[in-house]
Symmetry: C2
Subunit: 298 residues, 2 copies
C-alpha cells in the first residue's frame, strides 16, 4: 500500500460536531479516483483535536466506505499510553496501517523518541509509517535516529517533511535516506510543494494534502512518476505553484484546503476544530479564484 | 492569591499509574511551607500527558489536601472543546483559579489565540491566569496580543516566560507590560533562572518549579521580594545558579526536578509519563550532588 498516492482528507466539522456526511462525500471523491491509500485523521484530518471516541468513529466510517482501498489511521498523541489505546482502536476499526507522529509537549530527546517508537512497535500488529513533521510535532529526527527507528518491527514507511527543490540535491537526499533503511521501508514525500521534486528524486509515494481534496490532479502526478515520466511530473507540479503559494501565505495547507472544500460545497465554511478558524471571506475568495484558475474542481 | 510564591509540584507516576501517595507527600511540603498558591497540573505537573479523568482526580485530591491554600489548575489542551470540559472539571473539583495555555498543534495566528481566550473566558466563572510559554505550547504572544487578552473577563494574571537578566532591562520590560494591562491583572515570572530578576523588576509573584519541590528555599526569595529586600533576593537567586545550570543542561527543569524528587525519596526514579524518561544514573547523581551542595533537602 505504500506507493503512489496516499490521500489525506479533511475531517470537516459543523455546528453539531463532526460532519460525517461531508466527510463521506470527500472520501467518495478519493475512492472514485482510486487513490492508492487513504491517510485518515492525519494532520489535515485534525486528529490532534478529537477525542478518542471521535477518532474511533471516523476510523470505522473510513474503513466501511474505503471501497477496499487500504486505510492508514494516525494514532498520534502526547502521551504514550494514549497512543497505545488509539492503536488498539484503529486496529479494531479495521485499519491497514498506522501513522505514528512523535507529538511533543516537553521537547523529546533522541532516546525518548526511539523509546516511544519501540514501545508502540512492540504493542501493535499493523505496519507503521513514521511521521516526521517538526512543524506540528516539534520533534526533529536526525538521519541516525531515523535509521535506528527503521530497524524496529512493523516500521514500513517514513513520511518525510520535504526534499530540496533542486532535483540533484533531492536525489542525493533520498538516496542517503534509503541507504540508511532496510529495503522494506518505503519513503514518502509530504509538504505538497516538494512532491514533484520528491517523486522525481525517487520517493515511493506522495503523502498528499492536495490529493485528499483533488485526487485526480494528484494521482495524475503520481501516475506519471510511477511510469517514469518525470518531465510530466515536473510540469504538472509546477502548474500547481499558485496553490503551493497559498499554503505558504496562510501558515500551511489546512486552512486553505478547508476553504477550498467549502468553495466546492463539500464542507461548511467554518469546518475546522476550534481554536482553528476559517480564512476571512476575502482570503477564501482568493482561494476560490486559484481553484477555478487551475481547474481543480474536477 | 496571585502574589508571592505559586508552587508547581510534580505529578509523579509509578508502574501502576499516578503515584497518589507520592503526590500527596510532595503537596504536604508545600502546605507545610505555607506557599501562597498551588499550581497543580502545570507543565511540571505533566498535565498534557494525562486523561481527563486523571486530571479531575488530581485536581480533586489537591483541593482536598491544600490546607486552604488556593489551588490553580491547568486546563490546557489542543482542542477548545476539551479545554471547556477540563474547565468544568476543575471548577467542580473546587479549584480557585485556572491556568490557561494556548497549546498548539497547527500553529495559531493571533486571531485564533485571542478567539480561544475569549471562548474560554466566556465559559468559566473562575479567575484565569494566561500561560505564556512558547517552549512547550509553541504559541508566541506579542505584547499587543497580551494586552488584548488582558481585557477579557476573568483574566487575573499573566505568567510570563522570563525577563532579561539585566535588572534595568527587566524593570523596563515589566513596566511596559504593566502599562498595557488593567490594574487587576498581576504579572508572574516563570523560568526559575529569571525569578530573581523578575521579582526585583516588579513582578507580583513567582510561578515556580523550584518552589514545587523546595518551597522553603523559594519562599525565602519571594518573602524577601515582598519585603523589598532586593539585595537578599539577588543573593539567594544567585546562590541557586548550579540548579539553574542543570535545568539548562537537561533541556528544561522537569527531568531534573523528577530526579531530585527521587533523590529525596519523594518519588520513584522513573516517575515521568512516557514518552518522557528519567535522567541516566550518572546525571541523576550529579543532580543529587547539587541538591546536597545547596542544602535544598530542607
Amino acid at each position: 500500500m505504500f506507493k503512489g498516492l496516499s490521500a489525506f482528507p479533511l475531517t470537516p466539522l459543523n455546528a453539531s460536531g463532526i460532519d460525517e456526511k461531508a466527510f463521506l462525500n470527500i472520501l467518495k471523491r478519493l475512492t472514485d479516483a482510486q487513490v492508492d491509500s487513504l491517510g485518515i485523521l492525519g494532520s489535515t484530518g485534525s486528529y490532534a483535536y478529537f477525542t478518542r471516541e471521535q477518532r474511533k468513529r471516523i476510523a470505522t466510517l473510513a474503513v466501511q466506505h474505503a471501497d477496499n482501498i487500504p486505510v492508514m489511521v494516525s494514532i498520534g498523541a502526547i502521551s504514550t499510553d494514549e497512543v497505545l489505546r488509539l492503536a488498539d482502536d484503529a486496529q479494531q476499526a479495521g485499519a491497514s496501517a498506522l501513522l505514528l507522529p512523535a507529538v511533543s509537549y516537553q521537547k523529546l530527546n533522541d532516546e525518548e523518541v526511539f523509546g516511544f517508537y519501540q514501545d508502540v512497535s512492540r504493542h501493535v500488529s499493523l505496519p507503521i509509517c513514521v511521521y516526521d513533521n517538526p512543524g506540528t510535532t516539534h520533534t526533529v529526527f536526525s538521519d541516525a535516529l531515523h535509521a535506528r527507528i527503521a530497524t524496529l518491527p512493523h516500521i514500513a514507511s517514513i513520511k518525510i517533511p520535504g526534499v530540496p527543490a533542486d532535483i540533484a540535491a533531492a536525489t542525493e537526499r533520498v538516496q542517503a535516506l534509503r541507504a540508511d533503511f532496510p529495503a522494506r521501508v518505503s519513503i514518502g514525500v509530504s509538504g505538497d510543494a516538494f512532491a514533484g521534486a520528491g517523486l522525481i528524486a525517487g520517493c515511493d509515494l506522495w503523502y498528499s494534502v492536495c490529493g485528499g481534496l483533488f485526487p485526480r490532479t494528484a494521482k495524475a502526478i503520481t501516475d506519471a512518476a510511477m511510469a517514469g515520466d518525470f518531465a510530466s511530473v515536473a510540469a504538472q507540479a509546477q502548474r500547481l505553484a499558485p496553490l503551493w503559494a497559498l499554503f505558504t501565505r496562510h501558515g500551511g495547507s489546512l486552512r486553505v484546503i478547508a476553504a477550498a472544500a467549502s468553495n466546492l460545497g463539500l464542507a461548511e465554511m467554518d469546518c475546522l476544530p476550534r481554536p482553528l478558524r476559517p480564512l476571512a471571506a476575502a482570503e477564501a475568495a482568493e482561494v476560490h479564484k486559484v481553484i477555478v484558475g487551475l481547474e481543480l474542481g474536477e
